[in-house]
C-alpha cells in the first residue's frame, strides 16, 4: 500500500490547509482538514479491501504463434457480497474491470514475445486505487500457467506431401465422383468445398461429402520432407503446411520423430497437429542435422 502521485499532492494540500487553519485559528478549517485526513486513511483501508480475498485462477490456455505476444487469461473471482471496482493488471496498463458480488471476471494478461513451446506466465500484479485514487494497493500473483506457442508458420504456399500420397490424392480429390461414399454431418472445421450444398438446400442440414478413396490415400506431412533445415525451420514449414492443408480441407496426417498423428480433418485435428508441433522436443541427434 503506497500513496499514488496524486496522493502526494493531496497530502500537500492537507498540509497547506493545516497551516492555514493554524494561522487563522480557524476551528472549522481544522475540522475540514482533519475530516479529509481521516477520509484518506479510511480510503486506504477501502482500497485494501477492494483487493482483499479475491481468488485468482488461471483460465483457458491461450495459443499463439511463436513471436506473437504471450496472452494469458486470468480469472478473478469475488467470493464476497461487496462488489469490487477498477481492478487492473499492472503490466498491461489497461483492462480495468469491476467484479460484482460473488461473480467472476476474466482479464487478459499480455506479456512479452513468445518462443515455440510452453511460455510460463510471469509473476504479475493486480492493483487498485479505488475508491479515492490516493493510495494504490497491489497483490503479487504467481500462477502455474502457460501460453502455448505454435511454431511460426514459414515456407511456400504450396503444400507438399510426402510420397506416395501426393499424386494420388491430388488426382482423385477433384474428380472422385465414383469414389463418393456418402454424406455425414458437418463438423466445425470441415472445408466448405466438401459441403453438399444441394442436400443442404433440401434438408436444411449441412452435410459433408465423404470420399472412400480419400480415406485411404495417406497425405502425410513428414518431418523428413524438410531434411537439411534446422529443427525450428522444419517445424515452421510443417506448421505452414498444416495451416494450408486445413484451409484446403485436405485430409492429412503428421509424422514427427517419435510421434505421428493419423490423417484426419477438422478443427480438432488441426489443433492436435499444431500442438504436437508446438510441444515437439527435438531428439538429441535430429536437432542440427542441416546447415543453419
Amino acid at each position: 500500500m503506497l500513496p499514488t502521485r496524486l496522493g502526494m499532492v493531496f497530502a500537500l494540500l492537507l498540509l497547506v490547509m493545516l497551516l492555514g487553519s493554524m494561522n487563522y485559528s480557524n476551528s472549522l478549517g481544522f475540522m475540514l482538514t482533519f475530516l479529509l485526513a481521516g477520509m484518506a486513511l479510511v480510503g486506504m483501508h477501502h482500497t485494501h479491501r477492494n483487493l482483499l480475498r479475491l481468488q485468482v485462477d488461471s483460465g483457458h490456455m491461450h495459443r499463439v504463434f511463436a513471436g506473437e505476444t504471450a496472452v494469458y487469461e486470468i480469472r478473478i473471482s469475488n467470493p464476497s457480497t461487496s462488489p469490487r471496482f477498477s481492478l487492473q493488471l499492472a503490466q498491461t496498463g489497461s483492462g480495468l474491470t469491476d467484479i460484482g458480488e460473488t461473480d467472476t471476471r476474466s482479464l487478459i494478461l499480455a506479456s512479452g514475445r513468445t518462443v515455440r513451446g510452453l511460455n510460463p506466465a510471469p509473476r504479475f500484479k493486480i492493483t487498485s486505487t479505488y475508491p479515492l485514487g490516493l493510495f494504490q494497493a497491489w497483490s503479487w500473483v504467481e500462477l502455474d500457467m502457460n501460453c502455448l506457442a505454435y511454431p511460426r508458420p514459414q515456407g511456400g504456399k504450396n503444400v507438399s506431401f510426402s510420397q506416395p500420397a501426393i499424386g494420388e490424392g491430388k488426382r482423385s480429390h477433384r474428380g472422385g465422383n465414383e469414389d463418393f461414399s456418402g454424406l455425414r454431418e458437418y463438423q466445425r472445421g470441415d472445408s466448405p468445398r466438401l459441403v453438399h450444398w444441394r442436400a443442404a438446400a433440401r434438408t436444411g442440414e449441412l452435410l459433408v461429402k465423404q470420399f472412400t478413396d480419400m480415406e485411404d490415400p495417406e497425405h502425410w506431412l513428414d518431418w523428413e520432407q524438410f531434411a537439411g533445415l534446422s529443427t525450428e525451420a522444419r517445424l515452421s514449414r510443417l506448421c505452414q503446411c498444416v495451416l494450408d492443408s486445413h484451409r484446403d480441407g485436405i485430409r492429412f496426417g503428421l509424422k514427427l520423430p517419435g510421434k505421428s498423428i493419423v490423417p484426419a480433418r477438422g478443427e480438432h485435428h488441426r489443433q492436435q497437429c499444431l500442438e504436437a508441433l508446438a510441444r515437439f522436443q527435438a531428439p538429441a541427434d535430429a536437432g542440427q542435422s542441416g546447415p543453419s
Binding site: 493554524m22 476551528s27 475530516l35 479529509l36
Partner: protein, 656 residues
Amino acid sequence: MNTAAAHSAASKTSELHLVAALVVAMAPHVLHLPPWVMVCTAAIICWQALALVRNRPPVGRTLRLLLCLLAFGSVYLAFGRINGRQAGASLLVLMLALKLTELNSHRDKSLTLYLAYFLLITQFLFSQSIGMSVYMLFAAWLITASLVDVSHPQGPLPVRRSLKSSAALLGQALPLMALLFVLFPRIPGPLWGLPKPNETATTGLGNHMSPSSIARLARNNSIVFRVTFEDKPPPRNRRYWRGPVLEDYDGATWTHAEQHATATPIVSSNTHLTHYEVILEATDNRRLPALALPVAGPPRASFTRTGLMLADKPVRHRILYHASSALDYRYQIHLNPATRRRDLTLPGMIDPKSRKLVRQWQAHGLQGVTLARRAMRYFQNQSFYYTLQPPTLSGPDKVDQFLFGTRQGFCGHYAGAFTVLMRLAGIPARVVTGYYGGEHNKNGDYFIVRNSNAHAWSEIWIAGQGWLRFDPTSMIPASRVKVSQSPAGAGERAPVDAVHGGFWRSMSLHWDWVKMTWERSILAYGPDLQSAFLTRFGLPDWRSMLLALTGFCVGFLALLGVILMWQVRPQWHKGDPIARAWQRFCRRLARQGLPRAPHEGPLEYGQRIASRNPLLAEETNAIVSLYIGLRYRNLDDPLLARQFRHRVRKFRGKKR
C-alpha cells in the same frame, strides 16, 4: 484535438457530476465575493457545461492561458493584490472555473476536486456558523462522490453507488476527525501576518467618550460576549462589566490614556470571588471584559492601574477565557499624588453654576460620600430625563447646560456630569465605561451581553475606602425614561424578557444557546482550551497528546480494518440457490478427486466425470442437464429448480 471525439457519453456524465459538485461548493461565495467574480465564474461554468452537453471540443490552450492571465489581472486590479482572504478566494474561484475547461485526464479531474476541497476551507474564513458547516459537509460529500466516480475511469458509476461510497468514507472518517480535532496539538496562531479585516471596523467601546459614542452603541444589538457563571449569578444591579476608565476631561470629551499593564491584578486577595467563563467576539483590541473588578484572568492576561484586564494581543477572533472577580472590594486605599492630581483636574474655570451648586452642598456640611449621595439624589429629585436623542450641548459650559438647561441625556451625560461635580468638590473621580446587565438565557443558563448594553458610570475615591462605584443614571426613575427599546442605563432596569415576550423570542434564545454551545466547545477550541481540557484527562503536554492521538487512531483503524475484512468474507452461498447447489455438487466431486477446473463449463465437466467414472455418469448427466437448463436456457421453473436441488442433495458420488 482527438480527445474531444473520444469523449464518450460515459465520461461526459461523470464530468457533469463534477461540475455540479463544484457549483455546490462555490455557491456560498456569492455572499462574500464581488459580483463580477461570481458572474464571470457562472459564465465560464455555463459555457463549459453547454460545451459538454453539446459535445463541443474544449477551449484551446491559448485561449485558456489568455483567460488565466485576464483573471489574474482583473483580481489584481480589483483588490491591489492576489493574496489575502477576498482576493485569494476570488482568484481560486476563477481558476477553478477555468480548470473545468481542461478535464482531459484522470489527473486533471482529481486536481480539480482537490482544489474544490480547498475552496471549502476558504469559506470558513468568512463564516463559521453552524449552517455553513452543515452545508460544507454536504458539499464535501458531493465532491468526494465525484472523486470516487473519477477513480473509476472505465465509466461513470451509478450515482447512488458513488454517493453511498462517499457517505461511507466520510462517515467512517468522522471519528478520526473528532480524535484529531481534540488531540492534535494546537499552537497559538498566527504563523504569519493576518490581514486586517476589511469589513466595517468592529464596534465597541472606544478609548474616549463623546456624548454621541454610547448612543450609537445603544442602537447596536450585536453580541459582544456571553457569560456563564460557575455559581449563582450576581443580581442584575451588580453586573457591571468593566471597560476603559476615562480620566482626562477637556470640557467636552472624556479620554482614556493607554496605561502600563502588569501581570498582577490590583486586588490580589479577597474573601469572596465570582468565577465565570466568557466567550468574547472579535473586538480588534486587547481589552477583556471583566465583572466589577478582575482578580484573576486567563494565562498571559495583564491588568492596568485602573483595573482593566488586557489580553496579550488584540482579539482578532472569538476567544473563550475564564476569569474571577471580586464584587465587594476595596482597592487603592492609598492614592498616589500623581493619580490624585489627574483625577481632580478640570479644564479651567468652566461651569460656574455647577460650582455654585457644589459649594451650596458643601455649605451644608456635606463632604465625601455624603456629598456624593446628595449629588445622586439631585438626579432623582430634579426632572432629569433619560433619552438617546438628547438636544445637543454647545458652548464651553456643557455640564452647566445639561444640569440646569436641557436635563435630557443618557448614561454618558450623567456619568460625565457627576464626575465633574465630584471633582469640583475636591473628590478624585473618573468615568468608567463598560457594559451593564445582560440578557439571561434559561437554556444553558448564561448571559448575553450586547453592544446595546454599553454603559458609563463613575468612580470616586474616598480616603480609607478606596474607589467606590456610583451610577447616576440608575437614579432616573422609569417614568422618566423616554426610550422604547432596551437602552443602556436606566432603561436596563425594565426586565427585557417581559418587554419582548413570545414565541419568537424564546426560539431565538434557544437558538442562541445552540450557537453558544457551538462557539464554546468547537469554535473556541484552541491551544488554551485544549490544554485545559486535556490536562483533566492526564494529557498535559503535546507529547502525551500525540501519543494518545496515535494510539486512538491506530486502534480505530485496526477496528475498521477488521470490519472491512469481515465485509468481504466469502459468501458464495449468498448467491441464488441454484448456484449454491451447483457449488455443492462440485465440492462433493472435488472431494472424490474430481475437482472442476476453473475454466471448465458444466457440460465439459459432466463429460469428464462420466468418462472418468462411468458409474456416476447417469446421475451426473441428469444434474448437469438440469443445471444447464436452469442456468443457460433460462428455464425459470420452480419445479425443475426443486428437482435439481433434490438431486444434488441426494448425490453422494460414492459409486465406484
